[in-house]
Symmetry: C2
């Protein structure tokens, strides 16, 4: 059988480390004649690449370079996959493609929504008697996959944000004034505050930044925020605040989110600026506001070594699950102890955790709702530990910018549901595949 790997959802600084580890593990099982696996393929742009029959042959991919590169080298997608009863032709196409390429194992590397795809494909394969083992490899900087103690990608984003907050606090301290200076950093996290929470690691003492963290899990309390900010400003002359982009008022409305033009999809982003304007306006202090945005999920120059190791470990376990026939499972991380930090990988049924959303538990947040508790710090601390050497040339990180050898197509072009999305990639789809523009034509 051939093994198919695919990436889905927002990428992380270590998702390519998972890709590299999956391919390495498959190579160790033996590829080609005499091995347990025929080929390792990677779909371009996740499940859309399956529909498009757009596969990379990973036999010769340089794994060391791949493991150090942010983003998703094979391409990722955001695609709300319909259920089979809603789009039977789409599923028929998927299995036609899988059959045409002798694919017996699917490794889907994504977050909550992607695990639903694993569960759906697992059920659909069983129903039609197709011999497919679908396995999930968890990944999300949001850290919100239920049943997974921590999600690969989170530790690196956490390390980046906590480091940034600590560094900025030195800048703030050097220019504190009686008028006061607030600094707000907005983190990603629409519904969950894990990334905002992670900045708590920047300090150890109540005087250390961040002095205030605003979580989506805690209804926004303007009066309490202003009172605490004023106390900190009076004491220190500056105050550092972390704001999750998805903070909400008690009635559930976002503190800042907008729709634009004809697009009624609610866009987050700007909550940090809103808080900076509010606090500086009321308290009459200076303000600065940072929004690291994509920087926080692609900072491969500063990954957490433990996160990088775990990203590889879940991928290796997933390959084992695929070969052991553990269909519909996700390779999750289980914590065995905080200190020393011990963990292992255990399978969890994708159907049991798909589409759920793990929020920061209340006991991880202090009573005032604006800081991490000791229990929360104990949870976070091990996830950012360790640094990795960065391969640089001319002072900048070298990424795995390699050609992607495409597999020849065997079927007609797909014309069904979502075909517009499936073929929605311009030419060339990325700088890496420029050499293969012909092979990937159509994607």
């Amino acid at each position: 059988m051939n093994l198919l790997y695919a990436q889905a959802g927002g990428t992380t600084a270590v998702i390519n480390a998972s890709a590299a580890a999956a391919i390495a593990a498959a190579r160790e099982y033996g590829l080609g004649e005499g091995g347990r696996i025929g080929k390792v393929l990677a779909a371009r742009y996740g499940i859309l690449g399956v529909l498009a029959e757009s596969f990379v042959d990973c036999g010769e991919i340089d794994l060391e370079a791949l493991a150090a590169t942010p983003g998703g080298l094979f391409g990722s997608c955001r695609f709300n996959m319909p259920r089979e009863d809603e789009a039977p032709a789409l599923y028929a196409r998927l299995f036609d493609v899988l059959a045409a390429h002798d694919i017996g194992g699917l490794l889907y590397n994504g977050g909550n929504g992607s695990l639903a795809v694993v569960a759906e494909l697992s059920a659909a394969a069983r129903q039609r008697g197709y011999p497919l083992v679908s396995v999930g490899i968890p990944k999300t900087i949001d850290n919100d996959i239920e049943g997974c103690d921590c999600c690969p990608g989170f530790g690196s984003a956490a390390k980046y944000l906590a480091t940034s907050m600590r560094e900025v606090s030195r800048d703030l301290a050097s220019m504190s004034t009686r008028k006061g200076r607030i600094f707000v950093m907005e983190t990603m996290g629409r519904n969950v505050g894990w990334l905002a929470a992670a900045t708590a690691l920047a300090g150890r003492d109540p005087d250390d930044a961040p002095h205030i963290i605003l979580f989506p899990e805690v209804p926004f309390d303007e009066v309490a925020l202003l009172a605490k900010a004023e106390r900190v400003l009076t004491r220190l002359g500056y105050c550092a605040i972390t704001v999750a982009e998805g903070i909400r008022r008690a009635d559930g409305s976002p503190v800042r989110a907008r729709t634009y033009g004809n697009d009624m999809h609610l866009r987050f982003g700007g909550a940090g600026e809103e808080i900076a304007l509010l606090v500086s306006g009321v308290l009459g202090c200076h303000r600065h506001y940072a929004a690291p945005d994509y920087l926080q999920r692609s900072a491969a120059h500063w990954v957490s070594a433990i996160d990088h190791v775990q990203a590889q470990a879940v991928a290796r376990a997933a390959v084992s699950y695929a070969l052991e026939g553990r269909d519909g499972m996700v390779a999750t991380i289980r914590r065995l102890s905080d200190t020393p930090y011990r963990w292992d990988i255990v399978p969890v049924a994708a159907v049991a955790v798909a589409d759920l959303e793990r929020r920061v538990p209340r006991e991880f947040i202090t009573d005032d709702g604006m800081q991490m508790s000791e229990a929360g710090r104990r949870y976070l601390a091990p996830l950012v530990v360790g640094e990795r050497a960065v391969n640089c040339a001319d002072g900048l990180p070298v990424h795995g910018s390699q050609a992607l050898p495409m597999v020849a197509r065997k079927l007609e072009q797909y014309t069904g549901f979502a075909a517009d999305l499936v073929y929605a990639r311009p030419q060339p789809p990325s700088a890496e595949s420029r050499l293969d523009a012909d092979a990937s034509a159509g994607l």
Copy 2:
């Protein structure tokens, strides 16, 4: 004589490396009896610390920890120093304090405005026959000091921004779509585009990010921007744009800057969001927008090694100038060749370069005004080279959080011009000096 070091203006990731090198050089000349220097003192919060007579005795400061810490450990200030004829009592106080502490050399570490202070103090000392040698140590992430080939602090900010842009480009490439995705990163730089320019190093090819750079030096051309963004989106499915916060329209008005409330001071920030909204609105693509803000000037975990070396070299040279009596000079970096990169330190008169502003020359920018030229790249390339090991504990950088031994006061409290500013620091002024809250009372 005693030597006084002070920090002024916005801090950088390497200004403390200058501080550490100045103190180290002074120690090498010999401190105390038998040495050429009595004590090395550091003023808290720049020139305000001189007025307040708030001095740290640097004899026992841990220099290794100091050199790795972002922000300005001794405190910095923004203070538009009046000329002596405007505020004679202020100058009388400054020289009373200098005399009371036997200060014969002043090392002022700052940007354009700070070099004006060097020139003023030099003139004022000569006029009253006070034996002071004032020397400037350049520092600014803005890279806009005239007469200095590059400014310590810039190379590290440049490396951070270029690295971030390169990393994000991998994320963008993995999710390109036909609808298109734009990413805008806003850099600091009110009047000069050096920081925006630096992101050009992220790519080598026209397909590489950033595809567009908007400089304050080039009048903003909306039509040209939209046309280029559309071409890039059509080709790649994504487009990365760097926007300097201070970009202006042809009539000189900022693309985005606001005044708030009673404060009529123009605040920049938001130009990147403005561009993101404009392009996505007109071209109908997805958009994301990052504003690294203070992160770009305090990212000590990712400094340019050559910048760190130069920050130390200018400080060491400044100590020599002070001992050689080269009053009113700035220790500037002179470029001898691009490849291999060769440079040395030369003295330039502060009065000749103070308050000027070096902009990105037109020949460093391509004809279309939206990218760096080959000449510009040749200038930038050597400034980001080299990495430094980062001392971490528990996965985060360790900073020099040390007690600051304060020198006993000898004079009455200052009550003159700007006394409110001088004593505008709350208690404790920073976490580092918590142990010395009594000694630094009043500051």
